[in-house]
Amino acid sequence: MKKHPISMTTLVLGIMTLTGTVILSPHQSAAQANPVRVEVGKEVKECLRCHSMETLGYQDKDTGKLVNLHVPLARFSTSNHGELICTNCHQKGYDVHPHTKKAKAETLYCLDCHDDPKNPKFKDYRFKEVEAEFKKSVHYERHGDKFTCFSCHDPHSFEVAKKKVETAAIIEQDNAMCANCHRSPVRFADITTKRTVPDLEATHEWLPNAQLHWSKVRCVECHTPHDQGNFSHVILKKEQAERNCVVCHNKDSILLTTLYRHRVTTSREKTGFINAAILNDAYIIGATRNQFLDWLSFGIMGAAGGVVFAHALGRWITRKRRQK
């Protein structure tokens, strides 16, 4: 994967923040519920004196596009990178203000850190495989090196799914990544100049209760292949996306190996009620089956059929006596 260039030309509002008008506190958004907030260090606070300003940005002279340089502290401190200091990634030339041209031309490559064989915590995330999958995705096929990890995953705010307690929060974060471009004409135009942003309601007209689906499952459940038994980064063309309802709406729903994967810890074969408890945020027609209820239904219907059969048999046996 080609390195991601950040070719900065003009800092517009940075000077203002150097006057110290922004007061930072790592606890300022403590009211927002997330127990894994990290208290950022002195070095980060120093950078955020400028970069926590919502209006911090510049206009790229080459492209004419606005580049947002805002790093929201509240989201950064809960993100996967919240424990890092800025200079772990942003290195040469960032120690002076305004940053030097050399600094602005930096390129970042996720796998420089995430493929570190010495760091065992990245092993389970299979970043090398993710990169190989990404290169098969419609995004890479169509846009090449213009599309990078950062196009979807904002390194200043992204949280890995298993850090989140509520499934709804995972869905919200992941779908926001897609909507960030696919619902924004400006962001969409940044990536492709060929088309206007498609109307998602129109392209999903076939999907029953589309709004409900979007609030309860992630776009990637249908827009990635699901035969690999794990989450894939091969984002598919819309023509290849899953349209078979039963893939999710059945007892062996793929959602159990994707969306609910990190919560499924008990065998579903034995535990109907536990299955329901696992999925208690979302009832899924055909998937949230309960074995006890299924047995009960077979029992009740069997009993009804049995009584009817026995009664009919009794009437047939006694038919001659009754005719007298």
């Binding site: 078979n244 039963v246 208690n280």
Partner: protein
């Protein structure tokens, strides 16, 4: 000679058969949706979902019409058990279905215009029409409009308890349907009850001595 009594008016027959069609569609599509499977699909999921929604809404409308017409025509009284003598009458009816019918005994509570249902039918239909059906309909509508469902019920996601309730009521009504269909054959002849629900006329042979309620209580 045969005595004919007009017992089931046209509106009630229309409701009965329309409701039966909806119920059958709901039962088949409901089974298909609940036991959805890639390997052995009963009915294609999208088709089952659409048919289930249409039939469900139709049944809800039909139920409202039934309650309305029951109230306007006084037909609701047919569902009301006679409370003072209810238990012995119920017992007598159960004895008939369980024992006497095999001996060739006559129906203990012959149909009259004032009392079309026997005590067991009264209490069953009362429970079905005014108890189970509204619960089935309300839970079904909450499936269609989940934004109105409570976020949590007893600590569980709101839709899940609703889904279980919907499933259980559907199950009880399906068991009721099995018995109900069989009961068609327990008329004066095998098909006389079915014929009555088509023509509206109940037929009875005059030769049989007509038993009055007093004889049974």
């Amino acid at each position: 000679m045969t005595i004919r009594i007009y017992l089931v008016p046209l509106w009630l027959r229309f409701w009965h058969w329309a409701n039966a069609a909806c119920f059958l569609a709901l039962l088949l599509t409901g089974i298909s949706l609940h036991f959805a499977s890639i390997k052995t699909p009963l009915i294609p999921f999208e088709l089952a979902q659409t048919v289930h929604n249409v039939a469900g809404i139709s049944m809800a409308v039909l139920w409202v019409l039934l309650v309305l017409f029951n109230a306007l025509t006084g037909n609701w009284r047919q569902f009301m058990p006679k409370f003072k003598t209810f238990l012995p009458r119920l017992l007598k009816q159960q004895m008939f279905y369980g024992v006497e019918i095999f001996k060739g005994a006559d129906h203990p509570f012959p149909k009259t215009k004032e009392e079309k249902f026997n005590p067991l039918q009264q209490v069953t239909y009362l429970g079905v029409v005014y108890g189970l059906l509204p619960i089935l309909i309300v839970t079904g509508l909450l499936f269609l409009f989940p934004e109105y469902a409570p976020d949590k019920i007893f600590g569980m996601g709101g839709i899940w308890p609703i889904a279980v309730t919907h499933y259980l009521i559907g199950l009880f009504l399906s068991a009721f349907l099995v018995v109900h269909v069989y009961m068609i054959t327990i008329g004066e002849t095998l098909l006389s009850e079915l014929k009555m629900m088509i023509t509206g006329w109940h037929e009875e042979h005059e030769a049989k001595p007509k038993q009055t309620e007093k004889d049974h209580v």
